[in-house]
C-alpha cells in the first residue's frame, strides 16, 4: 500500500461513515462504480436462469411426500411414454460418492451416507427423488405426476430433543448423530479423514427432568471442551444465572433460487449455476461428478444471494449435468420457490443451556454452555462448535466449559448461514448478559465493555497446551464509538422503559464477532502493452463487490487508474486463479492479501526491467502513476512499455516461468495468459499471528405496544471493527444488510412444522416471514472504525458475518429493556409471545419444542 499500514486506535483513526468525504487521489477506501453495476441496474446481468443453449430441455424434480421413507420401486414407464419426455434420472444414475483431496493435501474420505442430490431413502419431505427432462416445463411437470413411486414410510423426528429422549425416534435408520466427523475432531490435523458413520445417542429420563418447566435437558454430548476452573468461578460469583433459550431454524431465502443449466462440449462439462464462489466451485463440481477439475467449466457471473447456502453452489446442479449426458442435449433446471424451500438450505436452530457466573462488576467469571443443534438429516453442521468458540472470544469468560451435540432430524438440510454458530451462540448469551446487568444494576453497555476482548484475545480450548488467539480485537472501541453516536447514556435515561399510552420504549446494545479472513491464496493479473491492467478474479459476484473491490489494492500499488483496470470474473474458462471460498467473510482479508502479493510481484518485475534497460539496481526504481521512475530523477518507463519489454524478456516476466508455490488452477490459468504482458502472479505467503475476527457493536431502540404485542424498531446503529475499509459503500451495505438478516431472526423469521405429520406447514414467504423493507428500522445507520488489522500487509477484514448476531441481539435486548426479564425464551420474539407473557403477568414456559 502506498500509505504504510499503521496500528491505530479509535481515537487516532477517524470513523468511516456514509458521509465520509471522498479522496480522489486514492482507490482504497473510496467509493467507485463497480464493473457489474450497469448490468445489474439495467437488467442486463445474466443470472443462471437467463442462459440459453440450442435444443435446451427443461428438468423438473419429483419430491418426497414423506419425511422419511424407503423407496421400493420407481415406475417411470408412463412418464417416459409421454410425448416430449426425454429422460428420467434417479439416484442410480448419479456418480458414486468419491474421496477427494483438499488443496492442503488432506484426503477427505467419501461419506456413504451423505447427500447425493437424488435419494432412494428420502430423509425429509421435499427431498428430490427423481428428475424428468422434457421439451418444456409443463410436460416435465406433468410427467413427474405420472411417475409411480412405492414407499415404505419409516419413523421420523422433527425435534432434536424428542430424538434424544429414551426410546425417541431416530431420523435415520442408522441412528441420530454423526459418529466420527464430530466437531471436536475437525479436519486438518490428519492427512486422511475417517469415513463418517451415524450412531445413536439417547439421554435418560433423569436428564429430561425440568423439561416441562422450560429447562433444557443436558445429557451425553458428542463434543466437549473446557478451560479454567468453571466450578470455582461459580463459587466466587456474585450472581449465577441458569437460562434456557432457543434460536430459530431459518431458511436462507436467497432471491435467486439455485437454478442451473448444463451441457457437454468436447468432453467438458459446461455448467451455468448460482454460486457464491467461482474458482472453488470447480473442485466441488468435480468431486460430485467424480471427474477432473480441468474438465469442468463454470459460468456464474451474478448471484442473487447466498448467505452461506451456495458456498460452492449445491450438489443438485449435478442433476442437469447428468440429465444432459443422458439426453445429449443442454438441460435447464429452474428451481422454484417451493423446491428452494426444501433444498435451499437453512440455519440450524440451537437450543442452549447457559449457566453463567458473574462478579459484582458484571465480569463473566464462569460459563457452562450446552447446545443442541437441529442438524437436519445430512452432514454434520459445525454451528454447535463455533457457537462455543465465538462466545469464548466475545465475552472472554475467565473459565468456560462447552458441550454440544448435533442431532439428526427429518427436516431440510442445513448449511452455514451468515455467522453460522455465531448468531446462535451470541443469541443464547446476550439475553443472559442483559439479565445479569439488570440483576447486578449495571448498565447494559458497561457489562458488554467489561467482558469485551482486547488485543490478541484468546478463544476456545487449549490445544497442545495453548489457546488460539485473535489477530486483534477492537470491540471496546466499537462499543465506545457506537455509544457516542447513539447517545447511549442520554437515550437510556430519556427513553428506557418510558411509557406513552399503550407503548413502551426499550433501548438495547449487543456485541458481536465472527471469523473474518483466511490466507494462502493466489493473485493474478497482466499489464498489457495497451497500458491496461487485466485482473483475473476467481471471487464470486455474490453481492459483496469483493470480486472487484480487492483488486483496487493491487491497482493502487502499481499506480494504475481504475479506468484502465479490466476485471474478468464469473467464467472459469477465462483463466482465473485459485481463490478462497466466497463465504465465511474470508474474501476481503484473504484476497486483498493475494492482490497485494501479486502487486508486489509485478512491482519487483517492473523494477528489474527498468534496471535492465536504464541501469542501476532494481530498488533504485519506484512504481507510481502508470510509470516506473528512477528515484531522484532520470529515465521513466511507462507500464505499457514495460509490458512490451516483459513479453520480449519472457521467463518470469510474462508468465512463462511461474512461482513454484501457486495452486495448480492458478498454474493452468497463468500458462494460458503467458506472453500477453507483464504478469503479476503470487501466492499470499505473509505471516499472520492469530486468527482474524471482525467485531460489531449494534444499538437499537424499540417501541412496543403492550396491547397488541407488536413492536417497531425506531432506531438502529451498527459500528464495525472490520479492519481497513476498502470500499465504504460496500461495507455500509454489508453492515446494514446483514444487520437486517439478524433482525429477521429477532422479529419473525422461522419454520413451522407439524411434528406429528413431520411436515412443514409454513412454506411460502407470507408464512415463513422473512423481514420486509417496512420491518427495517425507521432510522438505520452504520460506521466503521477503519483500524487496519495488526496482521498482514493490508489489514482489511471481512464484514459479512458479525452484523447478523448484533442485529438480532440489539433488538432482543431492547425488548427486554422495555418489558423486563423472561418475556421470551426463544427467538423470534413474536406478538403472541409478548401478549401471552404480559397477560399471564409472569414468565410463560413456552417449552423447547422446535419449529412452533
Amino acid at each position: 500500500m502506498p500509505d504504510s499500514k499503521q496500528e491505530g486506535t479509535a481515537a487516532q483513526v477517524p470513523l468511516v461513515t456514509a458521509d465520509t468525504p471522498a479522496d480522489k487521489s486514492k482507490l482504497v477506501g473510496q467509493n467507485y462504480v463497480t464493473p457489474d453495476l450497469f448490468a445489474k441496474v439495467t437488467g442486463q446481468a445474466k443470472y443462471a436462469e437467463d442462459f440459453r443453449a440450442e435444443g435446451m430441455l427443461f428438468a423438473k424434480l419429483l419430491l418426497s411426500p414423506y419425511p422419511h421413507a424407503r423407496i421400493l420401486e420407481i415406475d417411470a414407464s408412463q412418464a417416459l411414454a409421454m410425448p416430449g419426455v426425454r429422460a428420467v434420472l434417479t439416484m442410480k444414475d448419479l456418480p458414486p460418492p468419491a474421496d477427494y483431496m483438499t488443496d492442503l493435501g488432506v484426503l477427505i474420505k467419501a461419506n456413504p451416507l451423505g447427500e447425493r442430490g437424488l435419494a432412494m431413502e428420502p430423509l425429509y419431505q421435499g427431498e428430490p427423488i427423481a428428475a424428468v427432462a422434457a421439451v418444456d416445463e409443463l410436460t416435465a411437470a406433468d410427467a413427474v405426476e405420472k411417475i409411480r413411486v412405492t414407499y415404505e414410510p419409516l419413523p421420523f423426528v422433527i425435534d432434536p430433543l424428542a430424538s434424544l429422549r429414551p426410546g425417541g425416534p431416530n431420523a435415520r435408520v442408522e441412528g441420530n448423530v454423526w459418529g466420527v466427523l464430530g466437531p471436536e475432531a475437525p479436519v486438518g490435523a490428519k492427512r486422511t479423514t475417517p469415513v463418517p458413520e451415524v450412531r445413536e445417542i439417547k439421554w435418560t429420563e433423569e436428564d429430561f427432568r425440568g423439561y416441562d418447566e422450560g429447562k433444557m435437558p443436558t445429557g451425553t454430548p458428542t463434543g466437549e471442551w473446557s478451560y479454567g476452573d468453571v466450578e470455582g468461578g461459580f463459587k466466587n460469583a456474585a450472581l449465577v444465572l441458569d437460562e434456557s433459550f432457543q434460536t430459530p431454524n431459518t431458511s436462507h431465502e436467497c432471491l435467486e433460487t439455485r437454478t442451473s443449466m448444463a451441457y457437454w462440449q468436447g468432453g467438458k462439462l459446461h455448467l451455468f449455476g448460482s454460486t457464491q464462489s467461482t474458482s472453488q466451485t470447480v473442485p466441488a463440481i468435480a468431486r460430485w461428478m467424480n471427474m477432473k477439475p480441468e474438465d469442468v467449466v463454470l459460468v456464474s457471473e451474478y448471484t442473487g444471494g447466498g448467505y452461506g447456502s451456495k458456498v460452492t453452489s449445491s450438489v443438485h446442479l449435478i442433476i442437469p449435468a447428468m440429465l444432459s449426458k443422458k439426453c445429449h442435449a443442454p438441460v435447464m433446471m429452474r428451481i422454484t420457490r417451493e423446491d428452494e424451500n426444501y433444498i435451499g438450505r437453512a440455519r440450524p436452530s440451537l437450543t442452549g443451556r447457559m449457566k453463567a457466573g458473574f462478579g459484582p462488576d458484571g465480569r463473566l467469571l464462569a460459563l457452562d454452555m450446552f447446545v443442541v443443534a437441529d442438524n437436519g438429516p445430512y452432514d454434520e453442521v459445525h454451528d454447535t462448535y463455533i457457537s462455543g468458540q465465538i462466545v469464548s472470544l466475545l465475552y472472554q469468560p475467565v473459565a468456560m466449559r462447552w458441550r454440544g451435540i448435533s442431532v439428526l432430524t427429518n427436516t431440510p438440510p442445513r448449511s452455514p448461514q451468515s455467522s453460522p454458530g455465531g448468531l446462535q451462540g451470541i443469541t443464547l448469551m446476550e439475553p443472559v448478559l442483559a439479565k445479569a446487568a439488570r440483576r447486578l444494576k449495571i448498565d447494559l453497555l458497561a457489562i458488554h465493555r467489561i467482558n469485551a476482548p482486547e488485543g490478541k484475545a484468546p478463544l476456545g480450548p487449549a490445544v497442545d497446551g495453548k489457546r488460539a488467539h485473535a489477530t486483534g480485537c477492537f470491540m471496546k472501541e466499537a462499543l465506545d464509538q457506537g455509544a457516542r453516536r447513539f447517545q447511549w447514556e442520554e437515550r437510556r435515561k430519556a427513553n428506557s422503559g418510558k411509557r406513552n399510552g399503550s407503548k413502551i420504549r426499550g433501548v438495547g446494545v449487543s456485541s458481536s464477532s465472527f471469523k473474518s479472513g483466511s490466507k494462502g491464496f493466489d493473485g493474478l493479473f497482466v499489464i498489457q502493452p495497451d497500458g491496461k491492467m487485466y485482473v483475473q478474479s476467481g471471487i464470486g459476484n455474490l453481492g459483496t463487490e469483493d470480486f472487484s473491490d480487492v483488486h483496487r489494492v493491487a491497482a493502487e500499488m502499481v499506480g494504475m487508474p481504475w479506468e484502465k483496470v479490466v476485471v474478468t470474473w464469473g467464467d472459469t474458462s477465462k483463466h482465473l486463479p485459485w481463490t478462497c471460498i466466497s463465504g465465511g467473510s474470508q474474501t476481503a482479508h484473504a484476497m486483498t492479501r493475494a492482490a497485494y502479493a501479486a502487486a508486489m510481484d509485478a512491482i519487483g518485475k517492473l523494477q528489474q526491467i527498468a534496471a535492465k534497460d536504464h541501469g542501476g539496481r532494481p530498488e533504485n526504481y519506484e512504481v507510481r502513476n502508470e510509470r516506473v521512475y528512477r528515484q531522484g530523477g532520470g529515465p521513466v518507463m511507462t507500464l505499457a512499455h514495460a509490458a512490451q519489454r516483459a513479453i520480449a524478456l519472457g521467463g518470469v516476466y510474462d508468465g512463462h516461468e511461474l512461482p513454484k508455490d501457486i495452486n495448480p488452477m492458478t498454474v493452468r490459468s497463468a500458462k494460458a495468459l503467458a506472453g500477453r504482458g507483464l504478469m503479476g502472479v503470487a501466492r499470499d505467503n505473509y505471516r499472520q499471528d492469530g486468527t482474524v475476527f471482525s467485531f460489531v457493536a449494534s444499538f437499537a431502540e424499540v417501541e412496543i405496544d403492550v396491547e397488541t404485542g407488536t413492536y417497531k424498531i425506531v432506531d438502529f446503529l451498527a459500528v464495525a471493527d472490520a479492519g481497513r475499509v476498502i470500499h465504504p459503500a460496500a461495507i455500509g451495505g454489508q453492515i446494514l444488510g446483514r444487520s437486517m438478516l439478524g433482525i429477521g431472526h429477532a422479529i419473525g423469521q422461522k419454520w413451522v412444522f407439524d411434528q406429528h405429520l413431520g411436515l412443514p406447514v409454513a412454506r411460502r414467504f407470507y408464512q415463513t416471514k422473512p423481514p420486509t423493507i417496512l420491518d427495517a428500522p425507521a432510522r438505520m445507520d452504520w460506521a466503521a472504525l477503519n483500524i487496519p488489522d495488526p496482521e498482514g500487509p493490508v489489514g482489511a477484514k471481512g464484514i459479512g458475518e458479525p452484523p447478523v448476531p448484533g442485529g438480532c441481539c440489539a433488538i432482543l435486548n431492547a425488548i427486554s429493556d422495555a418489558l423486563g426479564d423472561d418475556i421470551f425464551r426463544r427467538a423470534p420474539v413474536t406478538l403472541d409471545m409478548i401478549l401471552t407473557s404480559l397477560e399471564n403477568g409472569h414468565p410463560v414456559i413456552s417449552g423447547l419444542a422446535a419449529d412452533i
Binding site: L63, P65, V149, T150, Y151, D754, L759, D775, L831
Partner: protein, 341 residues
Amino acid sequence: MAIVRESSAIIRDVMPAFELFQPTSIEEALSVLAQYGTDAWVLAGGIDSFDWLKDRIKRPKAVVDLGRIRELRGVRELAGGGVEIRAMTTLTDVVLHPAIRKSFKLLADAAESAASPQIRNQGTIGGNVSQDTRCWYYRSGFPCYRAGGNICYADTPYGMNREHAILGAARCVAVSPSDSAPAMVALEAKMLVRNSNGERAVNAEDYFIGPGFDITRMTVLKQGDILTAIRIPSAWANASFYFEKISDRPVWDFPIVNIAAAKVISGGKIRRIRLVVNGVAAHPWRLRQVEEAVTGQPADEQTGARAGELAIADAVPLQHNGFKLPLMRNLVKRAICATPA
C-alpha cells in the same frame, strides 16, 4: 410388516394446462361457467387463484378471467350518498377513490392494510372479500373437512393453529383472511351476485358463511355465481370509524386479528355502532351483543374495557392461539374508545 404406499410426489409452482376464457361481458362469462359447471374457475386478480393453480391442487378445466369485462370495473357514487364498487376494481383504486376516502374511510383503511402495494395494484375488491381461507393445512392440499375429507388437521393435539379460529368453529377451524370483509359488514354493504337466473343483493353479513353452514365455502357464492359489485349504503357515511389490523409484519401479511368499527357518537355517548372482527372465525365476526351493550354508553376506556371482556366471553382458544383472546379484547376496547383522528 411395513406399510407400503404408492403415491405420487409433490410438485408445485408449475400451473397445469387449462382452457382460458377471457369474456368481455358478464353474460359471456356466465355462459362459459354454465358450460363447464364444476370444472370452471372464476379468476379475478389472481392473487388467491394462482396459488391454488400453481400448487396444482385445484385443477379446473376452464378458467374464466373476468379481467376484460369493463362493466366489472370502477366506482360510482350513488344518489343519496352511497357508493357502488364494481367487483374487479383493484384494491388500490378503492383506496384512492375520493368518495370512498371522504365518506367511507373505514373501507379505504381496510383495503390499504391488505397485502402489499404491488398486490393491491393487482388484487381486486371482489377477490379480497371472496378469497379462500389461508389455513396452511388446507392450502397444502391436505384432505381436510374443507377439502371434502373427514378430519381437521389444525385442530388436533399436534396441530399448528396459531393463526386459527377462536370463534364459530365447527369441525373446521380456518379463518377468513380478508381485510376488507369486516369493513363491508360494518358498513352494511350489499353484495350483488349474478348468475344465469339474474342478480340478487346479499347483505355482507350474510354473504360470508361459516363451516356450520357450508364447510367447503367461505361465501354464499356457488358454482355459476359471479360477484359483480358491492354497494355501500349511506347509512354509515362519515361516521366515526376505527380500523386496525394486527399482523406479524407491517406489510405483505394476512391479519392475525383485524377490527372494523363504525360509530355515531354524540354528547360523548355511542348512539349507533357496528363492530366487526376478522381473523378469529371463518367469516367476519359481528359483535352484536357488544354493540347492544355499548349503545347509549360513553365512548370511554371503561366502556371499552367492558366491551372487550364481553367480546371474548364465548371465545374458545386452540393450543397455540390463546393470545388472540387478549388481542381481540384490546382491539375491541380501542375501537370503542378511540377518538376520531
